[in-house]
């Protein structure tokens, strides 16, 4: 399809609004703390919608419905455990990290790791480098999603779609920092939620209603309406590992967890988990049902998907196109998808900027660097990370969801254990954290790649392993932390007390 004037106008207005937020936010930036943690002044709703916007990504719209289209109800668990990741992040990481960060002045979660494990150089560097790697993998998935939408709406080539998307997101993120990202996310999340609440029921109704969709799917293949598959991918063991992956992996992702450092008052954490779960959960369920509706419409011949490897990711777009034959509304929907994707993309780029400028440059390479230089470097890294991932996104993977899960899987294996053990177990040591993080990173990258290319190594067929690949690297990280910590010198009690380490969430 090719866009008409109204379509172009709607998209341009949205893009200008984002740039306007960036310009407004840039005036609030006086120092690095303002840029990277919004001066620790985020209110309740800005924080909740920032969290939803950060977690709600390209997968939330295109990938979620694409997976529902492909595999039916056994994939429904992501609708529960992705929204729950916000609550997990707040409860198990956020409360304690926020309380310690206020007195210790943390800018990034790497500040906490360096303090807790008395490792200002080694662990900080490793965790920043690992954070950059996983964020880049995740970012490629996001840019692929933006490109899918722009290609669909404007019938433009992939490279041009990527350039437009990259340019807009990069400008407002680079100039406005977390203030711009948070306020852009507020608007983007509201657009996303209201848009899904209105449009998803229309598509479901157009496909014949909820009961008809389920009955039809059951007729095609009874497993499509079961809560899990009889075996293999989306069998019960896989579903359990999948739940852990989404809930814990997203919760400890650097771009998600850093948000808890920017909240104004810890009391916001009281109802934020429930409110975020309910708002985001409803939108996520509706999106999955839209994917089911798309599957029925394709099977009934209402429309056909494009002949591309990642056709499933287009199902919600084609569903909208057929259910709402008004082009201006497609543009509104494109804005909804763009809002979801850009709200994650901007936060990821800012996180990469923070890890490079603050953790690696300021804290390791050049401790005497002035604030102005660090701030400038943050902005340069934001731009470079966007350009780098744009180039990588030119060849999108077969399914968006697979790439994004791979990113989350690596995050889970790399960060979850050093963070959880650091916050709750006084026996966790620097060497244990280094071992858990490095082995988690290397093993998850290896298993993820072997799983993706369906390789068979040492008699193991990685294409048909019963658990999600990240479960194996997660277990390796747990063992590495326990064994190495038991064998090495303990962290001093002074630091353990300063970082409130122990089996409690809040004293």
């Amino acid at each position: 399809m090719a866009a008409d004037f109204i379509t172009i106008a709607v998209i341009v207005i949205y893009f200008l609004a984002m740039l306007g937020i960036g310009a407004w936010a840039s005036r609030k930036i006086k120092n690095t703390e303002d840029y990277l943690v919004a001066g620790r002044q985020l209110g309740f709703w800005v924080f909740i919608l920032l969290m939803i916007g950060t977690v709600a990504s390209g997968m939330s719209l295109l990938g979620v419905s694409g997976l529902g289209f492909k595999a039916g109800w056994p994939t429904i668990w992501e609708q529960i455990f992705v929204p729950l990741s916000i609550g997990f992040c707040i409860i198990f990481f956020g409360v304690k990290l926020h309380n310690v960060a206020k007195t210790a002045g943390y800018i990034t979660v790497q500040d906490y790791l360096a303090h807790r494990y008395e490792s200002p150089t080694a662990l900080r560097s490793l965790s920043a480098v690992a954070g950059v790697i996983v964020s880049l993998i995740y970012l490629v998935g996001q840019y692929s999603a933006i490109a899918i939408v722009l290609m669909w709406l404007f019938a433009i080539p992939l490279w041009l779609a990527l350039v437009i998307a990259t340019l807009i997101t990069t400008i407002y993120t680079a100039i406005g920092g977390l203030y711009a990202v948070a306020w852009a996310s507020l608007i983007q999340s509201v657009i996303l939620i209201i848009g899904v609440l209105i449009m998803a029921p229309i598509i479901i109704f157009y496909a014949g209603g909820f009961d008809h969709i389920n009955t039809y799917l059951a007729g095609v293949n009874p497993n499509l309406v079961m809560p899990w598959m009889p075996s293999g991918t989306f069998g019960i063991p896989y579903v359990v590992s999948f739940a852990v992956l989404l809930m814990v992996g997203l919760a400890c992702a650097p771009h998600v967890i850093n948000n808890v450092l920017a909240i104004k008052d810890v009391k916001y954490f009281k109802w934020a988990p429930l409110v975020a779960f309910l708002i985001y959960g409803v939108a996520m369920f509706l999106l999955k049902f839209t994917g089911f509706a798309g599957a029925v419409m394709v099977k009934e011949g209402v429309f056909t998907l494009p002949n591309v490897p990642n056709a499933g990711d287009f199902v919600i777009l084609y569903g909208i196109q057929n259910s709402l034959p008004v082009m201006a509304l497609w543009a509104v929907f494109a804005v909804i998808v763009l809002a979801a994707v850009m709200s994650t993309t901007d936060r990821l780029m800012l996180t990469i900027g923070a890890m490079c400028s603050w953790d690696i440059y300021k804290k390791v390479l050049k401790p005497d660097a002035d604030d102005k230089t660090v701030l400038l470097l943050s902005k340069i890294v934001v731009i470079l990370s966007a350009l780098f991932t744009m180039v990588l996104a030119i060849n999108p993977p077969e399914m968006l969801a697979i790439l994004i899960w791979m990113g989350i899987g690596v995050m889970l294996s790399t960060f979850a254990i050093p963070l959880l053990a650091g916050l709750y177990w006084r026996g966790a040591t620097r060497e244990g954290a280094l071992a858990a993080m490095s082995l988690g990173l290397v093993s998850s990258l290896t298993f993820g790649m072997l799983n993706y290319i369906k390789a068979s190594v040492l008699g193991i067929d990685f294409g048909t392993i019963p658990l999600h690949f990240s479960a194996y690297s997660f277990i390796i990280a747990i063992f590495a932390m326990i064994i190495v910590s038991l064998l090495t010198k303990k962290t001093t009690d002074k630091v353990l007390d300063e970082t409130q380490t122990g089996w409690f969430i809040s004293k």
């Binding site: 409860i91 079961m226 809560p227 810890v266 009391k267 809040s506």
Partner: protein, 34 residues
Amino acid sequence: MFGLPDITVLAVGGVTLVVIAALLYWGLTFRGHD
């Protein structure tokens, strides 16, 4: 119900309710401090 097998409604509905109950409990009991 909804054209779905009972086990699907029970499993998905049950887990969702348990999660909501847990988050509600957290909200009612969390005191926090600054």
